[in-house]
């Protein structure tokens, strides 16, 4: 398994990821804050609702003009008069009502007051509105057979007609009929409760009757002064133009007695006035009665047009459209004013909060608008009227403010996190770079301190003064290197010291032997003295060689370089070898011209001596030792080639180390493995290097010294 090599810098960068915990914690915090804000908004809104409710407390006339009429009503008997925003033109067309059409109540067979008929022969939809001092009503009637009032008939009830029954503010019961001879402008006639007696035209109730495919439309207007609390409408259907009998009557409520009438709920102008004084920005206040009917409404959930949310700051800086803001806009839900408010214009409020308030205690509710474009908070608080609940105040507000705050907090949080993250990452990268740089420097210095030959070079380890662990490490490494260098020096000086220490006892023995020779000794003791002398000489040779390397190192320090001809040196040395060893053959391959080199000729002669001595020891006596010198402008290569046995694998470089000898047979003269070490020292002193390798034909070994030329 390959373990991935992670750099210190990479590791620290990975550690940086731990900082990602910051935004998480921040997110949690923001969520919590969101909860607190919601709670605060709930309290505030509930407070608002309670304040408004307190204002309305114990003002029975305000809430219910006729407390005796307050009773449980069926919703479909009651009529709610919407406050109409647009003027209504009495033209028999429903266009003016388009904002409210979807709230029109449909009355069908289940609202039948009299008669019978096929299920789909008669039904109508009704809307009631208030504007100015008029009550408006719209009837969209489906009728399979339209029968108009006969031209010659005085009777009002022998054709399709509309019945209006109401109680006026004074509490008197009135009943009106509306019919027409042809589509067009219509007026009402007041009739008595039984429908008999002479009809009395009531011109204040006016309207327009228009035919529609499958029925007709009636749009009419009633002065508010005529209408008290109670109101009911009914549509009577006559299908047979000859018999002209009322076949079926469908109504919003009973139209014959006061008790049967439904209630008409009109927004209370007085409550409205009170509410207007209490209205808050961005909040909507409702006042509902016990049935949840809306009595008053003020304010709007949408802010005034000049105060758009964009300016409030949905994003940090909406005009600064960077990539970051784009991401924020995508990730965070943005508050918007473009939501559908299903409740706007509602005639009746429902919901847990309203029910709780009508049951006597305040409550709040969060709800989503359709399509979840916005969240709306509503708080309801009961209005008391002498111990009973007379209604409730409902205050509504969008959650946009909180959402905006939360978004802003989120954006700030992410921005801060981003900055902190970037700063921390940068700091860590710098720190890691510096750290790994120091470690790298230490490693490089450590590498450099131990040379390729395994010798400890005297090199100062930097960064020892640092007070941290790396400083400790540097100091430790420095200490180890110092001790190692001392130990290496000790080992290297060992041979020299050993020879020095041994020389004194050796001198004692030698001088004693020499003194002994001057005495009259028996003849038979001579050979022993001679042998002792021989042994002593060998010991002396060993000691001399032991100290040779040490002496050489010292000599190198004082050596004076000169410019000389290496070719002449090699030729001269070769001639010397021939003289010194007449029984061996030496083959020299030296360039004819001079090979000038800057160096110490004595040392190079010593180098060649060692190489040749080595070659003579290893090569067979009957084979020549070959000495080859070649030169390029950049370097000179000196080779000494023997025909001896090849080197064992892997020993070529060790050969040049101190006290390493691969000789298997111990010859007469001692071998300490210092000869090739001296070769290496001299080669290195001249900036070159020494190598040993087996000849390609396997018949011998090449010792090659490469020396740079200037």
């Amino acid at each position: 398994m390959i373990r991935p090599r992670l750099r210190l810098r990479t590791k620290l960068l990975l550690v940086t990821l731990a900082l990602l915990g910051i935004p998480w914690a921040g997110y949690r915090y923001v969520r919590e804050m969101d909860g607190f804000l919601r709670h605060a908004q709930e309290s505030t809104l509930l407070g608002t609702a309670r304040a408004v409710a307190t204002v309305l407390d114990d003002r029975p006339r305000l809430m219910t003009p006729r407390p005796d009429l307050v009773r449980a009503l069926r919703e479909d008997r009651d009529l709610y008069a919407y406050p109409l925003k647009n003027p209504i033109q009495l033209d028999g067309y429903a266009e003016d009502w388009s904002d409210y059409l979807d709230r029109a109540l449909t009355y069908g067979p289940e609202h039948r007051l009299a008669g019978s008929g096929p299920p789909d022969s008669l039904s109508f939809r009704n809307l009631v509105g208030v504007r100015g001092s008029y009550l408006y009503a719209l009837f969209l009637v489906r009728d399979d057979h339209r029968v108009y009032r006969a031209p010659d008939s005085l009777r009002l009830d022998q054709s399709d007609h509309l019945i209006i029954a109401l109680q006026d503010p004074a509490g008197r019961f009135h009943r009106y009929l509306l019919t027409t001879r042809a589509p067009g402008w219509v007026n009402a006639y007041e009739v008595d409760a039984a429908g008999h007696g002479a009809p009395h035209p009531e011109v204040r109730i006016q309207g327009e009757w228009q035919e529609t495919p499958g029925g007709y439309t009636v749009e009419l207007r009633i002065p508010e002064t005529l209408v008290g609390n109670k109101l009911a409408f009914a549509v009577a259907d006559v299908d047979d133009p000859r018999r002209r009998t009322v076949r079926e009557v469908i109504g919003t409520a009973g139209v014959t007695t006061v008790a049967a009438l439904g209630t008409v709920m009109t927004p209370s102008p007085r409550i409205q006035a009170i509410l207007r004084g209490l209205s808050r920005a961005n909040a909507r206040l409702w006042v509902v009665n016990r049935q949840g009917r809306v009595l008053a409404l003020t304010g709007s959930l949408r802010p005034p047009p000049d105060e758009t949310l964009a300016r409030n700051g949905a994003g940090p800086r909406a005009d600064n459209g960077g990539l970051l803001n784009l991401i924020y806009r995508l990730v965070l839900r943005q508050p918007t004013d473009q939501f559908d408010d299903a409740l706007a214009g509602a005639s009746r409020l429902q919901g847990s909060d309203v029910q709780a308030a009508l049951a006597g205690h305040g409550a709040v509710r969060w709800r989503h608008t359709p399509h979840a474009r916005a969240v709306i908070l509503s708080a309801a608080y009961p209005i008391h009227d002498g111990g009973t609940v007379a209604g409730a105040v409902v205050a509504e507000q969008t959650g946009n403010a909180i959402l905006t705050l939360r978004n802003r907090a989120m954006v700030n949080l992410f921005n801060v996190t981003l900055v902190v993250f970037a700063a921390a990452t940068l700091a860590l990268v710098l720190f890691a770079s510096r750290l790994s740089g120091r470690i790298r420097r230490l490693r490089n210095q450590l590498d450099a301190a131990i040379g390729p030959d395994g010798r400890v070079q005297p090199a100062a380890i930097s960064g020892r003064r640092a007070g941290d662990e790396l400083g400790d490490l540097a100091r430790g490494v420095d200490g180890v290197l110092q001790r190692l260098a001392e130990y290496t020096r000790y080992l290297e000086g060992m041979a020299g010291r050993l020879s020095h220490e041994l020389r004194t006892p050796l001198t004692v023995v030698r001088s004693s032997l020499e003194n002994l020779e001057h005495l009259d000794l028996p003849a038979q003791s001579r050979p022993y003295i001679t042998r002792a002398r021989e042994g002593l000489d060998r010991l002396g040779t060993i000691l001399t060689r032991l100290s040779e390397a040490t002496r050489l190192e010292q000599a190198l320090q004082q050596a004076e370089r000169e410019r000389f001809d290496l070719a002449a040196l090699v030729s001269g040395c070769t001639a010397g070898y021939r003289d010194a060893y007449p029984r061996r053959r030496f083959e020299a391959d030296v360039p004819a011209g001079p090979v000038m080199l800057t160096g110490v000729p004595d040392l190079l002669a010593q180098l060649l001596d060692k190489l040749v001595a080595n070659a003579m020891d290893f090569g067979p006596p009957d084979r020549p030792v070959r000495i080859a010198l070649s030169a390029t402008p950049g370097q000179a290569v000196l080779e000494v080639i023997n025909d001896g046995p090849p080197l064992p694998a892997g020993t070529a470089d060790r050969l040049f180390e101190s006290l390493v000898s691969l000789r298997e047979d111990r010859g007469d003269s001692p071998h300490l493995g210092l000869g090739l070490y001296i070769v290496r020292l001299i080669a290195q002193f001249h900036g070159g290097h020494a190598r040993a390798e087996n000849r390609e034909d396997g018949a011998g070994v090449v010792f090659r010294v490469t020396l740079p030329r200037d």
Binding site: H500, R503, V508, S512, R551, Q554, G576, Q606, L608
Partner: protein, 231 residues
């Protein structure tokens, strides 16, 4: 009256062995183990020749100090360093302090005797007039084998005994190559090749100081050295 030799050597066996050899050759020998002891004696009476070890007991360089002090007492008494230390630096230091010769303990006793005799001979010769038969001339170089002194164009060249014999061996037969072994034999000393090399180096420098061409001693690589015949 026999000549008096002082041996300052902290190793009693060596001291006594050397003393015995020299006594056998007719010298009066006093042995000292420590620097202070020797210095006391020198102040009372100067020896005719002093053989000093460098390391004396605890004093690693006590011999050098003693040499300096003895030289202060007398400018002429011959001083030989005889030591186990054969490092170039030690040799240079010893000779710079005014020693007449520097021998390592590898030297055989007969060689030591010869060297002592040569130094005494030189001391004697300095007191008498130079004799013609003792002079060897090689170009501008004049060697007096009796006084063991060398002159280049009448300028004295301060050579140690070892150096003198090396120069002598080379200059007597100009043009002939002398191997290192031969030079060592001529100089009655046992040193290794590199010591010969450093001797040659010092000789060249001294010759150069006296105005001679340092190339007068020519290196024949692999063989040895030769005196360059005068042109």
């Amino acid at each position: 009256m026999s000549r008096r030799i002082a041996i300052v050597e902290d190793e009693p066996a060596i001291r006594e062995n050397y003393a015995d050899v020299l006594r056998r050759q007719g010298y009066t020998v006093q042995g000292y183990a420590a620097r202070q002891e020797a210095l006391q004696a020198f102040r009372t009476r100067l020896p005719d020749l002093a053989i000093l070890d460098i390391g004396l007991g605890n004093e690693v360089e006590g011999g050098f100090d003693l040499c300096r002090e003895l030289r202060a007492l007398s400018r002429t008494v011959p001083i030989i360093f005889l030591t186990a230390r054969d490092q170039d630096m030690d040799i240079i230091s010893g000779l710079r302090l005014g020693a007449d010769d520097y021998l390592t303990k590898d030297i055989s006793l007969p060689h030591l005797g010869a060297r002592v005799a040569a130094l005494f001979r030189r001391t004697e010769a300095l007191e008498s007039a130079p004799r013609e038969e003792d002079l060897v001339n090689a170009g501008a170089l004049e060697l007096d084998t009796q006084r063991l002194s060398a002159r280049w164009d009448e300028t004295p060249v301060e050579l140690t005994v070892t150096e003198f014999w090396i120069v002598h061996a080379l200059a007597r037969r100009p043009g002939h190559v002398r191997s290192r072994d031969q030079l060592m034999g001529e100089a009655s000393t046992v040193v290794d090749d590199s010591t010969v090399t450093s001797h040659i180096k010092r000789i060249r420098r001294k010759m150069a100081e006296a105005g001679a061409d340092p190339g007068c001693i020519e290196t024949v690589y692999g063989m040895g050295y030769r005196w360059k015949p005068a042109r």
